[in-house]
Structure formats: structure tokens, C-alpha cells
Amino acid sequence: MNALIPAVNSKDHIAGKPGALIELVEYGDYECPYCGRAYPIVKYIQQNLGNDIKFVFRNFPLSKIHPHAFSAAVATEAASQQNRFWEMHDIIFENQKTLDPDDILLFARSVGLDPARFKNDIEQKALTEKVEMDFESGIRSGVNRTPTFFINGEKFEGDWTDYHLLEYLKSILARVPSL
């Protein structure tokens, strides 16, 4: 069983309560159609499980087949500098077929980013390195395609499509003794 390396930490983008019983980590590629399919599924899971789940997204751009994936990932990191990571993450997945630089800039404006600062930030080496670090952590954690999910630190090998992942997470919650 592959374990998540490194564990979720302060460099990660985390949606949800820190103490949630379930920690769901996705390694994803913004231009990958399967990740596009997973996007509403994860949203639905978050709505359904509420405070019982925290969701973490790490970048795993497959740049050779998805030429926009890396720059899209950097754009979300730049948005994060203005505290709009998830807004950018969402708008990119909702429009993943149009990820040219002009489109990205349009998204940046529509999620309320300061465009000048955004343009400057996407050129920062530190953000490129963050995306590369995510990728490398994915390799070490045994990510072998996108999306790959980790649940409470362990790689999820099951079916994530339709309601399968939600049902699986519910079955984990059902096993947690009530306090």
C-alpha cells in the first residue's frame, strides 16, 4: 500500500476543518479529462460529508500530453497568493478546455484577483517550484495516473466514479466509533 509522502502540511491547499475524520487528497492535472470528471464528484462529496471531510489538492501536471496543465497549476498557486486558490481551482476545472494564457487571465479577473499582481506572480520561480514539488511528492507516493486519491494517507485503489467514492468514505465514517 502506497503512503502519502509527505503527509499533508502547511504548504498544502486544504478545504475543510483541520480535525475532520476524513482527509481526502487528490493528485490532479487541470487539463486531464478524468480530473474534470472527478471535479463535480469531489464537490458533491464535500457537500455531503460537510465537517467530516477535508480536501487537499496537489498538482500532478502531465505536461507532455497536456501542454496547459503546468501553467494552469501555476495560476492556481498565484491565485493562492491572493487567497483565491479554490476559486481559481474551480473556474479552471469548469473551463478546462480553454486554458490558453488569455483565458487564464480572464479567470483571474473573474475570481477577483488583482491582475497586475497575478501577472507578476505567475512568473515567480517559487510557484513553479511548488508545482514541481507537488509532482515529485506524487511520484514518491506512487501516483501512477490522474486523478489519484489518498484517503487518510493511504492510496485509494478503488473506483472513484459516480457515487463509489462517496459510498466508500461513508463506510469509513460508519466504522468510526461515535464519541
Binding site: N2, L62, S63, K64, I65, F135, E136, I139, R140, S141, G142, V143, N144, R145
Partner: protein
Amino acid sequence: MLPIGIIAPDFKLHSTPDQKLELSELRDRKVILIFYPADWSPVCDDQLTLYNEMGKYFARHNAQLIGISVDSKWSHLAFIENRKFHFPLLSDFEPKGEVARLYEVYDAKTGECKRALYLIDEDGTIRWSYQSPVGINPGADGILSALEQIDNLKTVNQ
């Protein structure tokens, strides 16, 4: 699988329709040999796509990636172009599976290579190997750890 520590058997196979690649040409570099069942099949596709992203990491360890299957050189050519692979795919086509047999990773039932990895060092010695169930993509963490171990050992010995 062949044992660790022996010299990797040499072979010469088509890497493009008009070029052949010989393993011994790659002395002084590490070689990651990827035997896989078939071009275009879903698991192989994911596996090779992943390795294709790892050029930078393999280069750090002076390692060259090479894929081998029983597909023809023309299938390889189309597969490489379509998926934008940046490493050669060798065609173990005629006599079919001869190199895979030599490396003990030929599946006579399906007529395809098994899903197997060999890591060969700069001196041509097999240093690490791994066979994965046919339906399972082994990822790249094993290769990366093996490369790091070899290079760390080298530093210690110097």
C-alpha cells in the same frame, strides 16, 4: 526474471523504422528497461505517459528510459507520435519476443511481454528489477528509489 548482479544480456532492436539500438551502446549510462504488454492499451498508456514526464528526474541519475514490447516498429512510431513520448520504444517483433524471453518476461499465453522493469547500471549490470501484475501500473516510485540507492552507494564508496 533474471537475477540481480549479472551483466544484462545484450540485444539489438529497431528503435525507429530505419534505426536499431544496441543495449551495449548505452554503457556509461544507466538504463531503465520497461517491458510492457502492448502499445495503445490503457494501463501501458498511463504507465508510459507517467515515465514520459520524468525525463528530468531520470537525467539527474544519468539514466535512459527504454520501452520494449512485441509491437511492430510502425505501431511504435505512431504511438510515440500520438503520445509525444520522448524516449525510444524498441520492437521485439521478429523473432517475436526474443529479447523478452532472454529477460524471462515473455508471456507465451498472451504472446506479449509481461509488465516488468529492469534497472541496469553504467557497467551494464542488472541492479534492480520489478514485475508488476499485468493490470497494475507500477508507478515510478520504485525506480526512483532504486536509482537513488545506487547513486548513494556510489558516493559512499568513493
